[in-house]
């Protein structure tokens, strides 16, 4: 069984972090683009709102999410009605919670990158026949590569290390919501230090390899 080894929770964590990062990129990219270019008076307000999840302790966010996503919460009830399944204590619920929790870490680097883009590059692309979307993918996005990299690194790492939210919303169910951060926490809590050390080392080694390879790729890209 998975839960007895440290690989199970690690794999689950990777799955969660990957899914979350992908979902976040899809959500955060247009949001960051809008924030980078809007002149709306609501902009600072929306920026502040996006950053708010960082301010609350994860467990507290988890607590509130548990209420909102739970079967008696607005979203949770609606979800149950539509899908028949509960959001909380499920992988889907975890992904939603992680996305909310890590959203600022994806939005901020992207927004900075988009803001420091030279508007003139996009203009040039437009006059060369690129639609706004095309210009985004062929010029703005590659020129913001480092922003995407940072967004990915921060979201991914943050989700890997996330624990308060996940514990609350996910409920530590082996094979489903017991990610490695919770597993480590459990070992620490149960004073099984050897196992905790071993799992931490595994997580760190894995994270290091992932981060290292991303930064190496980034270096290649920017050198080219």
């Amino acid at each position: 069984m998975f839960e007895t080894t440290s690989m199970g929770p690690l794999l689950l964590s990777i799955r969660l972090a990957t899914t979350t990062t992908l979902v976040l990129l899809i959500i955060a990219t247009p949001l960051a683009w809008w924030l980078a270019h809007t002149t709306s008076r609501w902009k600072p307000g929306i920026q502040a709102t996006v950053a708010l999840p960082i301010v609350l302790p994860p467990t507290v966010i988890g607590f509130y999410l548990l209420i909102v996503l739970g079967p008696y919460g607005t979203i949770g009830r609606w979800w149950v009605e539509v899908t028949g399944d509960a959001l909380t204590f499920s992988f889907t619920g975890l992904v939603i919670a992680s996305c909310i929790y890590s959203l600022p870490f994806a939005v901020q680097p992207l927004q900075v990158a988009f803001q420091s883009l030279d508007r003139r590059d996009v203009e040039a692309a437009r006059t060369l026949g690129a639609s706004p979307l095309d210009a985004f993918f062929s010029v703005a996005a590659p020129l913001s590569a480092h922003g995407f990299l940072n967004a990915i690194v921060l979201s991914f790492a943050h989700t890997l290390g996330e624990f308060g939210v996940v514990l609350m919303v996910g409920g530590n169910i082996p094979g489903e919501t017991r990610v490695i951060s919770i597993a480590i926490y459990d070992h620490v809590e149960s004073l099984d230090y050897a196992a905790a050390h071993q799992m931490s080392a595994l997580l760190l080694a894995f994270a290091f390899v992932v981060l290292l390879s991303m930064f190496v790729i980034n270096r290649r890209l920017s050198r080219r």
Partner: protein, 374 residues
């Protein structure tokens, strides 16, 4: 090219009317540019040349405006229509190169080409690369190009996207003379062969007169003169043109080529002129003659190295700078302008109606370009 107020536009023209307001500046133009040849836009720094091009490209949102290209309405603020930038089939060469720093030169060139809709006229990649001398830098990144090299790439990139017409914003400012001359020649050939019309912004009247068929002069956001090159250059009332570059252009037919001395004899209504280099007999040339290169004599001079001496009639003498005057001459059905010192004009007692000889240094005669197809 004529100023109109309805901006209806016809086939084969670019008609526009724009009003654009900025803090210190208002662009207010209403004009029609023929959809052929090269149209020069001349004006001092801050006159609004770049702003005009940006309006045409759709990069600027004018407070009111209408743009009709070839009879198709591209923009009409009254009916809230505006073709998005990428659907306007234009090539835009910016004042600075604006190459994509993440793509090699080759992929920069491909960028527009890949996105071009298929059109009848195809531009030849190899040809343009060769003409702009880009072969050796195709695999380089834009960072590793000098200023002039980058601008050449950017010109090629705009030409390769198969535009209906091209907007060029001082594309040659960063180039050296030799390269400039080469590209000017190429642009000239390009618009003759492919009949891609070009709207060409420049401070340099020399460049403009070497290249353009039509000219419009801007000042403080307004068009103060427009028409075909000859007539605008002949105008003596434009302060912007009052520099040393005043001159005139005549259309001449190649009569013969003298291989021994490398001179071509061309004929126009005012007589014969010798032009450096070989030109195809029977073809038509436009010849620009700078007012500075024309001097006048009462009697036909002899024993001089000046080859081109033509009888002319003084039409009028206009004041110019403090020490000089501009003399308008008629030769057959054509006109020439000569800039001479006021002292000479007084000493020779030049009057309208006087018969004189115009001396033109043959090396100062410039072949300008093949007249576009039709």
């Amino acid at each position: 090219m004529s100023t109109n107020t309805t901006t209806t536009g016809t086939r084969a023209s670019i008609a526009m009317r724009y009003v654009l307001s900025r803090a210190d500046f208002e662009l207010d133009v209403d004009l029609e540019i023929p959809m052929r040849g090269i149209t020069g836009v001349f004006g001092e720094s801050g006159a609004g040349k770049t702003s005009l091009l940006r309006c045409i490209a759709g990069l600027e949102q004018p407070s009111s405006g209408r743009l009709v290209v070839d009879g198709n309405v591209w923009q009409d603020t009254a009916s809230r229509r505006s073709l998005p930038v990428h659907q306007r089939a234009i090539g835009y060469v910016f004042q600075e190169p604006r190459l994509f720093s993440h793509l090699t030169v080759h992929r920069n060139l491909d960028y527009g080409r890949r996105r071009a809709p298929e059109r009848a006229v195809n531009v030849d990649f190899e040809q343009i690369v060769a003409l702009l001398g880009l072969e050796s830098m195709l695999q380089r990144m834009p960072d590793a190009l000098s200023g002039g090299e980058a601008q050449r790439v950017s010109i090629a990139r705009a030409l390769l996207c198969e535009p209906r017409f091209v907007l060029m914003d001082e594309p040659l400012a960063a180039l050296d003379k030799a390269r400039k001359a080469e590209i000017l020649q190429f642009l000239d050939r390009l618009h003759a062969e492919l009949s891609v019309p070009i709207i060409y912004v420049s401070h340099n009247i020399g460049e403009i007169s070497a290249l353009c068929d039509q000219l419009l002069v801007m000042q403080r956001g307004r068009v103060i003169a427009d028409g075909d090159l000859q007539s605008v250059l002949m105008r003596t009332d434009l302060p912007a043109l009052a520099g040393e570059e005043a001159g005139s252009v005549v259309v001449a037919k190649v009569a013969s080529y003298d291989a021994e001395y490398g001179l071509t004899c061309v004929r126009f209504s005012g007589g014969e002129l010798f032009v450096s280099g070989r030109h195809e007999p029977g073809s038509e040339l436009r010849v620009r003659i700078r007012a500075n290169d024309v001097s006048l004599c009462r009697v036909r001079p002899t024993g001089t190295t000046i080859l081109n001496i033509l009888p002319a009639v003084v039409e009028a003498v206009h004041p110019d700078a403090e020490a000089t005057v501009l003399v308008r001459l008629s030769l057959g059905s054509d006109f020439l302008t000569a800039r001479i010192t006021r002292r000479s004009s007084v000493e020779l007692n030049l009057q309208a109606g006087d018969e004189v000889f115009a001396q033109i240094k043959s090396v100062a005669v410039r072949k300008i370009g093949v007249e576009p197809g039709k």
